[in-house]
Symmetry: C2
Subunit: 267 residues, 2 copies
Amino acid sequence: MPRTITAFSNPLIKRVRSLREKKGRRLERLFLAEGLRILTEAREMGRVPNWVFYAPEGATHPLVDALIAAVEGAGGEAIQTDRDILSKLSGKDNPQAVLGVFDEPATDLDRIDRGSADLWIVAQALRDPGNIGTILRTGDAVGAGGLILIDDCADPFSVEAVRASMGAIFTQKLATARWPDFLTWLRAGPGHLVATALDGAVDYQSPTYPTPCFLMVGNESQGLPADYAAAADLRVKIPMLGKADSLNAAVATAVAAYEIRNQWRRG
Amino acid sequence: MPRTITAFSNPLIKRVRSLREKKGRRLERLFLAEGLRILTEAREMGRVPNWVFYAPEGATHPLVDALIAAVEGAGGEAIQTDRDILSKLSGKDNPQAVLGVFDEPATDLDRIDRGSADLWIVAQALRDPGNIGTILRTGDAVGAGGLILIDDCADPFSVEAVRASMGAIFTQKLATARWPDFLTWLRAGPGHLVATALDGAVDYQSPTYPTPCFLMVGNESQGLPADYAAAADLRVKIPMLGKADSLNAAVATAVAAYEIRNQWRRG
């Protein structure tokens, strides 16, 4: 049976509230995801939250019932609360009707089964959690297997990244690694590393992309370090026809990833 | 000669500070842009701020000198200040070395000379200023003439949008219009309206795109209204190979715009 919590001072509320900050997430190894659609997608992927919070006005939706049943069936807890508490937990004035608290998965490189997809995205030192979430969302759309984060990136389990991923945090594999470890891992099996770059790069439409392909993008303001690009099998550039010399990192990733996918779609 | 302001209580500081809010911008018809690179790009486009603020540690850079000279030559004012004031004006703990205050340009549809470019971007009811800025940046990169904002969109002159545009707020034409007025204007001259849509749409790689092309994207969560899509000459969809049914709005715009440009690049 769901229990009801409506006190801000409740220790569980305080604990869940702490997950909006990186410190709280690192301590608890838990993260937040909001919205019935995204939580339903997670459930369909077999990812059930440890706790689900919902406001009574949302409790009559059959998908909320299904979510509650799944959480309780997995030994988790469904908690009825109110919109004020949901606002406090989500940090939004106009919160979603449901909010789930999930175990943070491990992000070791050995989680990546490179044979399970023909395309993987690699992102280096991304600072903007919104970009990380948007790249996860794009990865799902373009049929990538997942995202490998190199060096110090923003936290993919932050509220901003999870929100921007629109559920792809549950459908894309996620790994984090230092550059030397990634390169060692990559070279221990099949894989063509494609760097988006400006110097010494060919037009991104000219090469034939082999599979599995690892598409790598760099930091928002610096791009990829020169030695990272040099270690790739191929350096490609997207034509820039105006005054600017670069695209937003998530946009560049999407434009290059769709080019690769389109080439393969044509056979 | 530059004057020096270091008091938070200075009326000009208060006035410029008000431009971080939409109310202040509407009252003053002014907006903020930060960063030496972007302000230099604006200067090279003939767009000189009414005021430029800079910290003394940045004052020895030749591009700062050039900016100050341009501002003073145009009858504006260069103001030396300190990092605390720059932080207050920009809303960032780590502010850029220079900050400019610019006149907001008019955004009437008649600012758009459709013959001056082969590609134009049209965005409807976008809520996220970051998406608007990112679309401006993409428009510059892909050689679009500018951005036409339909219905109620976030403010393209907000600090977030200007920042995300990375200078493209100065290089792309910008217009705002209600849908019926846009459609009347569009149909009064040459122009092929392409809607990104899901229903009744063809794969975005299959059509031949005529010029001038107006690429239209819809609201982040709702997409385009059905009657807007129906009024277009062509409805295209980007293939979605995963669980998600849509891309981020700025990402979808970029993927479609590069497809159009690539088709034309091939001749």
